[in-house]
C-alpha cells in the first residue's frame, strides 16, 4: 500500500535555507521555489507595478524576476540577503525596461485632482495618495515604495538601490515631501 504524504511544511524555514534547496533535487527545489514565491510574489508584483506603471511591462518583469531567481540559484550563488537580492533583480529588470521604452508616456504636468468643494472619504484620500506616488520621479518613487509598501529598512533600501543609507533616507524624505506638496490642496481635509 502506498501513501502519498503531503509535503513537509516549509513555512518556517529561513530564506537562505530555501534558497539553498533550490540547488537540490527537483522535488526539493520545486517546493522551495514555491514557498519563496508565496513569500515574495505580492511584494515583487507591487514593486513592479509601482515602478513601471505599465501592466504589461510589470507582468513581464515580475515573471522574469522569479525565473532569474531560480536560475541564479542553480548557478550556486551564495545568499545572505534574499530580500535585497530579489528586489535588485526586479529593479535591474525594471530599469532596463524603462530604458528600452524612452517613449513611455511622461507624467509631467499630470496633477492630482483637487476636491476643495467637498469633504473626501477616507478611501478617496488613500487613492489620491496612491496616485501621487505614481507622479514621483523614479528614484523617489522607488525609495518610497520600498519603504512604505515593502516595509524595508533604510539599510535594505540602500542595498537594493545601491546607495548610502543617508541617501536612501533622503530619498524617502523627499518623496514624502513631494507627495505632501502634490496633495496640498486637499490637505485641509485632514483637519
Amino acid at each position: 500500500m502506498r501513501f502519498r504524504l503531503s509535503s513537509p511544511n516549509l513555512t518556517g524555514r529561513p530564506d537562505a535555507e530555501l534558497y539553498g534547496m533550490l540547488r537540490g533535487g527537483r522535488s526539493d527545489s520545486e517546493r522551495a521555489f514555491k514557498e519563496l514565491y508565496r513569500r515574495y510574489a505580492s511584494r515583487i508584483h507591487a514593486y513592479c507595478y509601482k515602478i513601471l506603471d505599465n501592466r504589461e511591462d510589470a507582468e513581464d518583469v515580475f515573471q522574469e524576476t522569479f525565473v532569474r531567481l531560480y536560475l541564479g540559484a542553480r548557478e550556486h550563488r551564495e545568499m545572505t540577503n534574499l530580500t535585497g537580492y530579489i528586489f535588485r533583480i526586479a529593479r535591474n529588470l525594471s530599469l532596463n525596461r524603462i530604458r528600452d521604452h524612452d517613449d513611455l508616456e511622461s507624467l509631467e504636468g499630470v496633477e492630482i485632482p483637487i476636491h476643495a468643494d467637498r469633504s473626501l472619504e477616507d478611501g478617496e484620500l488613500l487613492d489620491l495618495i496612491a496616485g501621487a506616488v505614481e507622479l514621483l520621479d523614479l528614484e523617489f518613487r522607488e525609495a518610497f515604495v520600498l519603504r512604505e509598501y515593502e516595509n524595508m529598512s533604510y539599510e535594505q533600501i540602500a542595498e537594493v538601490v545601491g546607495s548610502s543609507v543617508a541617501n536612501a533616507k533622503s530619498r524617502v524624505f523627499r518623496a514624502r515631501r513631494k507627495i505632501r506638496k502634490l496633495l496640498e490642496p486637499n490637505i485641509k481635509e485632514l483637519d
Binding site: 513555512t11 514557498e35 514565491y37 505580492s42 507591487a46 525565473v67 484620500l125 512604505e148 524624505f173 514624502r176
Partner: protein, 423 residues
C-alpha cells in the same frame, strides 16, 4: 534638525525619547505639523491598502512555474482562504495517514502477540477433539476443555464419555481460544461392579481424579445420563447421575474485553482544522511552524461513567486584530497571526452510545504566551476495538489576550479528528 525631520523619524520608529518629547510638545501647538503627521500616517495606510491590489494573477504564477517545469499550484497552501477539501486532503493528510498507520501497527502488534481482543471471535474450534472452550474474560483466564479419558477397572465410563476439565491458563499465548459451542457428550453408562477409579484429563495431558479439586476456573459441566461434572459450587470434579434428558452443555457467554478490564488511561492525537471567525487579510505572514502545529496531544485519566480528565498540548494559529492609540490621538490597527504553543487541562464526557459510536462533549482550558485559551468540542468516538477508537467532531476555540489595557478575543471554529488509544 527640524520638526519635519523629527516627524519622519517618528513615523519610521527611529525617534528617541528626547525627540518625542520635543515633537509632541510642538504637535500640541502646531496645526500644520499635526496635519503633516496625519498625512504621513495616511501614506502608510495607503500603501498597506494599495498593496492588496497588486496580488499577482494566477496566470502569472502558472507562466512562471511552467517556464521552470514545475507543476501548477503552490507547495504550501496559504494560511487562509483554503477550502475544506484542501484542509483535509492536503494540509492534514499526514494526520490522517498517521492515524491509519498507528491503527494498523497496533492491530499487527495485537495479532502478533495473540492479544485477546484480536483473537476474540477470530478462532472457532481448534480441533474437533476440543470441546467447549468458553471464551472467558480472556486476559484473565483461558479455559481449556478436552475429551474425557475414562480409566479404571470395570465399567467406568463408556466409550466416548467425555468430561470437561477447565484449566486456568495465565499465558495469553496459549493456542486455541474458542467460541463457546454446544457439544453433547454422551456416556454409555456405567456397569455394575466396583466403582472404578476415574480420571479425566485436560488438554495438557494432566489427569484429574474424580472427586479431587478441579483446576481453578473450572465452571462448566455437560450433561448425560451418567457423566462427569465439574461443580462450580464445590469446585470439585464429581460424578453425577442424571435422569434428565441430555441437555446442551452450558455455553458461557462470549467474553469481551471491556473497558473495565483496561487501565484508566488513554492518549489521544488530534489534527485540528480550524478557521478564524474573522478572515485574516491575504498575505498576512503566519507565525513559526512547530511540530505540533495544528495538532493536539492529550493524555487522559478515566474517571468512570464516561468522564475523563487530563492534560493536553498543541499549537495553533490565532488571528489577532487590535488597535493601538498613539500619543497623537490616532489609532493604528495591528494584525498578526502568530502560531502559539498552548498547554492546559482537558476534559471529556461521553453522552451515551449509539452502536459503536460514543458521542462526547469535551474541552480544554489552557494558556499561551499571549493569554488564556479555551476550546469546546462536540463529537463522537468510533471504537475500532475496545482500546482503539477514532474521534471526530466540531470545535470552537478562542484566545483571549490583552493589549493597551483592553481585552481582545480571537475566536475560531473548525473540525478535529484523531486517534485515541486506551491502555
Amino acid at each position: 534638525m527640524t520638526y519635519e525631520h523629527l516627524l519622519h523619524d517618528f513615523i519610521d520608529g527611529t525617534l528617541d525619547y528626547q525627540g518625542e518629547i520635543a515633537l509632541f510638545s510642538e504637535l500640541r501647538a502646531n496645526d500644520n505639523l499635526r496635519r503633516e503627521l496625519k498625512l504621513l500616517m495616511l501614506m502608510q495606510k495607503s500603501a498597506a491598502h494599495d498593496v492588496g491590489a497588486y496580488m499577482p494573477a494566477a496566470d502569472s504564477q502558472e507562466a512562471i512555474f511552467r517556464r521552470l517545469g514545475f507543476s501548477a499550484g503552490p507547495a504550501t497552501p496559504p494560511a487562509t482562504g483554503y477550502g475544506w477539501r484542501n484542509m483535509f486532503i492536503g494540509r492534514y493528510m499526514d494526520g490522517l495517514v498517521g492515524a491509519l498507520v498507528g491503527t494498523l501497527v497496533t492491530l499487527l502488534v495485537m495479532f502478533g502477540t495473540g492479544h485477546p481482543a484480536a483473537n476474540d471471535g477470530g478462532n472457532e474450534i481448534a480441533s474437533a477433539s476440543h470441546a467447549i472452550i468458553p471464551a472467558s474474560p480472556v486476559h484473565h483466564d483461558t479455559l481449556f476443555l478436552h475429551d474425557v479419558t475414562a480409566q479404571g477397572n470395570g465399567n467406568a465410563m463408556g466409550n466416548g464419555a467425555a468430561a470437561m476439565v477447565a484449566g486456568r491458563n495465565q499465558a495469553p499465548t496459549a493456542p486455541g481460544l474458542h467460541r463457546p459451542e454446544q457439544r453433547m457428550m454422551h456416556g454409555n453408562g456405567m456397569g455394575d461392579g466396583e466403582m472404578p477409579r476415574r480420571t479425566v484429563s485436560d488438554r495438557t495431558g494432566t489427569s484429574h481424579e474424580i472427586g479431587t479439586q478441579a483446576p481453578a476456573g473450572a465452571m462448566i459441566s455437560y450433561t448425560a445420563p451418567r457423566h462427569v461434572a465439574i461443580s462450580p459450587a464445590a469446585g470439585t470434579i464429581s460424578e453425577a447421575i442424571s435422569t434428565a434428558e441430555p441437555m446442551p452443555a452450558i455455553s458461557l457467554p462470549r467474553s469481551e474485553e471491556t473497558a473495565d478490564d483496561l487501565l484508566p488511561f488513554s492518549t489521544e492525537y488530534h489534527a485540528v482544522a480550524s478557521r478564524n471567525f474573522i478572515t485574516p487579510p491575504a498575505g498576512l505572514e503566519v507565525g513559526s511552524s512547530g511540530l505540533l502545529r495544528d495538532r493536539e496531544l492529550a493524555g487522559f485519566y478515566h474517571l468512570g461513567n464516561g468522564g475523563r480528565i487530563g492534560i493536553a498540548t498543541g499549537e495553533e494559529t490565532f488571528y489577532q486584530r487590535f488597535n493601538e492609540l498613539l500619543p497623537t490621538g490616532d489609532i493604528v490597527r495591528h494584525e498578526q497571526s502568530p502560531a502559539l504553543l498552548w498547554g492546559g487541562v482537558a476534559f471529556r464526557q461521553s453522552i451515551g452510545t449509539i452502536s459503536a459510536l460514543e458521542p462526547f462533549v469535551g474541552g480544554v482550558i489552557g494558556a499561551t504566551r499571549l493569554g488564556p485559551m479555551g476550546r469546546i468540542s462536540l463529537g463522537a468516538a468510533y471504537g475500532i476495538t475496545t482500546d482503539i477508537s477514532l474521534t471526530a467532531g466540531g470545535e470552537m476555540s478562542a484566545l483571549a489576550y490583552r493589549f493597551g489595557g483592553s481585552w481582545y478575543l480571537s475566536p475560531k471554529y473548525g473540525f478535529t479528528y484523531g486517534l485515541s488509544l486506551r491502555f
